[in-house]
Symmetry: D3
Amino acid sequence: MSTDRYQKGMDKLKELTVADANSPTGHMEVGESFKDIAPDLTKLVVEFAFGDIYARPGLDNKQKVLTTISALVAQGTPQIGMHVITGLNVGLTADEIAGCIMHLIPYVGFPRALNALKVAQEVFAEQGVSVTPQD
Amino acid sequence: MSTDRYQKGMDKLKELTVADANSPTGHMEVGESFKDIAPDLTKLVVEFAFGDIYARPGLDNKQKVLTTISALVAQGTPQIGMHVITGLNVGLTADEIAGCIMHLIPYVGFPRALNALKVAQEVFAEQGVSVTPQD
Amino acid sequence: MSTDRYQKGMDKLKELTVADANSPTGHMEVGESFKDIAPDLTKLVVEFAFGDIYARPGLDNKQKVLTTISALVAQGTPQIGMHVITGLNVGLTADEIAGCIMHLIPYVGFPRALNALKVAQEVFAEQGVSVTPQD
Amino acid sequence: MSTDRYQKGMDKLKELTVADANSPTGHMEVGESFKDIAPDLTKLVVEFAFGDIYARPGLDNKQKVLTTISALVAQGTPQIGMHVITGLNVGLTADEIAGCIMHLIPYVGFPRALNALKVAQEVFAEQGVSVTPQD
Amino acid sequence: MSTDRYQKGMDKLKELTVADANSPTGHMEVGESFKDIAPDLTKLVVEFAFGDIYARPGLDNKQKVLTTISALVAQGTPQIGMHVITGLNVGLTADEIAGCIMHLIPYVGFPRALNALKVAQEVFAEQGVSVTPQD
Amino acid sequence: MSTDRYQKGMDKLKELTVADANSPTGHMEVGESFKDIAPDLTKLVVEFAFGDIYARPGLDNKQKVLTTISALVAQGTPQIGMHVITGLNVGLTADEIAGCIMHLIPYVGFPRALNALKVAQEVFAEQGVSVTPQD
C-alpha cells in the first residue's frame, strides 16, 4: 500500500542523508525507535515529511534545510543537530549554517540563537568542518 | 555617533527594499512610527538588524529572507507580510516563498503554515505575482 | 493517484463536519482557499491530517477533537473556532468544550485560556448551544 | 464560601485598577464577560490571580506589573494593554513601561517587542501620558 | 485556613495518583521540593490546580488528563511524563496516550510529537504497559 | 571601530556581574565560547545587548533583571540561571526573584514556573542565599 510515496520518500532521504551501511535512512532518525508505541510513525514520516513535502518542487535541498533549521531555532526544539548534518550533506557550508543562526538573532532573540549555536558547534566538531576565520 | 553602522544599515535596507519616494527605508517599517515612545528604536533596528546582522557575510540576501520568513512562520508573529515583500524584491519567486511555508508543515504544523499562507497570498495579490500552476 | 487515502480522508471529514450542500468538506476549511498559491494543500490536508491521522485507531472522535482543541489553546493559534464546531458535531457538549479550556488554566495560564474562551463563546452563540448553568 | 480569598482579591484589584463607577473591578476584565460559559471564571481569577498570587509578599505592585508585562511580551498574548493601564495606575511611568519592552528586544526579538510597543503606544495615547523626549 | 479547598484538592489527587506509602500525593510532584524558596507553592498547586480546576465538573478524569497531555505536548514542557503516569492510573490505555500524541502531529509538527513520544515510551516501559500491536 | 559602544557595554557588564579574576565579563557568558563559529558574537552581545540596550535609561538595573527573568520564564529558555546570578549581584533578593517566578504562575502556567523555580533554587544554593521563611 502507498508504495510510491514511501519509495519517493526513501529516495529523497537518500539524497539528504549521509550513507550509513547500518541504516537505510542514514544519519536521519525517522521514528524507527518508536516502533513499539507508534508502529506507523516511520511510514508517516517517510511518506509525508519526505515523500510529499521534501520532494515538492519550489525550493532546492539547500533552501529546504535552511528553512527547516530556521524554524527549529525559533521553536527551540532539539532536533536542530540532525538537520545541521543534513545541511552539510546537501552542500550547505558551516558558514551558511552558522550564518543562518546568527541571522535569526534580531527575530528570535539571543537565548534561542545561542542554544542553537551550541548544537551546531558540536555537530561541526563531530563532522570535522569549520567556519572560515574572519580577519 | 556610530555613523558608519547606521550608513551600512541604510545601504543594506536600500538593497532589500522596494524604492519608495516617500520613505528612505522603502516598504520596510523600521520603527519610525514609535518615535514618540521609543525614540532610539529606528537607530537600533537600522544599526543592529541591518548594519550588523543583515550585512554579515555567510548567507546571500535570498537565503537571509527565507531564513527570516521561516522563523516568523514558526513564531506565528504577524511581520511575515513585510518580509515576503522583501523576499520578492531580492529575487525570491512566489514559488520559493510559498514553497518555504509549505515545507514547514511537518515542523510547525498546519495551523501556523495556513496562517502564513494567508499573509503571503495577500502580498502576492498586492504585488501582482503568482505561483506557477502545477499540472 | 493515492485515491484510497484521499477517499479515506474525505470519509473521515464527512463524519466530523456539519453537512453543507455548498461544500464537500462541510464547515471545515481544508485549504481550498489557497489553490492559487499551494495547489496541493487540500490534498495534503485531506490525505495526511484526515486520511492518515484522524482515521488512526486509538482515540475516538470526541477524544481527538478535545486533544486538537487543547493543543491549539496552548499554541494560541486562531483555528480553535473551526475545531469547536467539529467538537459539537461529533457529540462533545458545550460543557465539555468550555470545561477543556478551563481545565488548561493551570498549564497554559489565564491569557491563552481567555483568548480561547472568547472564540468558543462566539461559536456556541452561532451554533445555538449553551453551557449548563451551575447553582 | 472562600469569602476571605475573594475579598482579598477584590481589595488587591482595587489597589491596582482605575476606579470606575460602572465596574467593581475597574478597568480590569476579570472574566465577567464569560459568565454564560464559565460561571466560575471570575471567582477563580479574583481568588487565585489576585487573592493568592498578586497579594503575595516578595515584590511590590510596580515590580509585579513589570513582571507581568514582560511575560506577556514574550508570549505575544494580547492582554498587554490591560496590564499597561494597571502599570500606569500603580505608578509605573510611561518611560518605565516603554523601557521594559525595549529592554526585552535582545531576549525575545524585534517582532514581539514591536507588537507590544504598538499596544503600549495606543494605551499611552488613550491615557494621556507620554515618554520623556531624549535629546 | 482554606481547609476545604485543600482537602478537596488532596481528595482529587488521591483519585489521580498511584498510591505511594512514602508520599501523600503519590507519584505526583506538587511542589514539595520547593518548600525552601516557595513555601506556599504546594498549597497553591493542591488548592488551585486540583481543588478548584481538576475537581470542576464538565470533563471526566480521562478527558482531563488527555487535555493536559495535549497542552504539554504543544508547549514542549517536560512535565509530560508525570501526566502520562496519571493517565494510566485513571484508566487511559497506552494506545490512547500514544494515539493522543500521534494525533497532534498535524497541529504541532513532528519535532514536538517525537519529543513527547520519547517521554511516553520511557514511562510505558517503567510502568510495564504496552501499545497493542497493529497488523 | 565602535570602541565606544563596546566600552559602554563592558562597563555595564562590570556593574552587573560578579567580579571574576579569570574573566573580564565575570559570571556572564557573552558568547566567548563560540569564537570558532561566530567570531563576532561577543562583540554583538557586548555592544548591542549591554552597550545599547542594558545601558538605556528608563529602568534601573534591578528592574531590568526582573524583566529579563520574566521573559525567559515565559519562553522556557535555559538562560534563567545566569540572570538569577546577575539579579542577586545587582541587589535583588532571593525573595524578589522567587516572588517574580511565583507571580508568573497565572500568566504562564505551573509547568514553566516550576521549571524556573528549579533553576533559581540551584543558583540560590550555589550562591548561599535563601528566601525568608514565612510563618
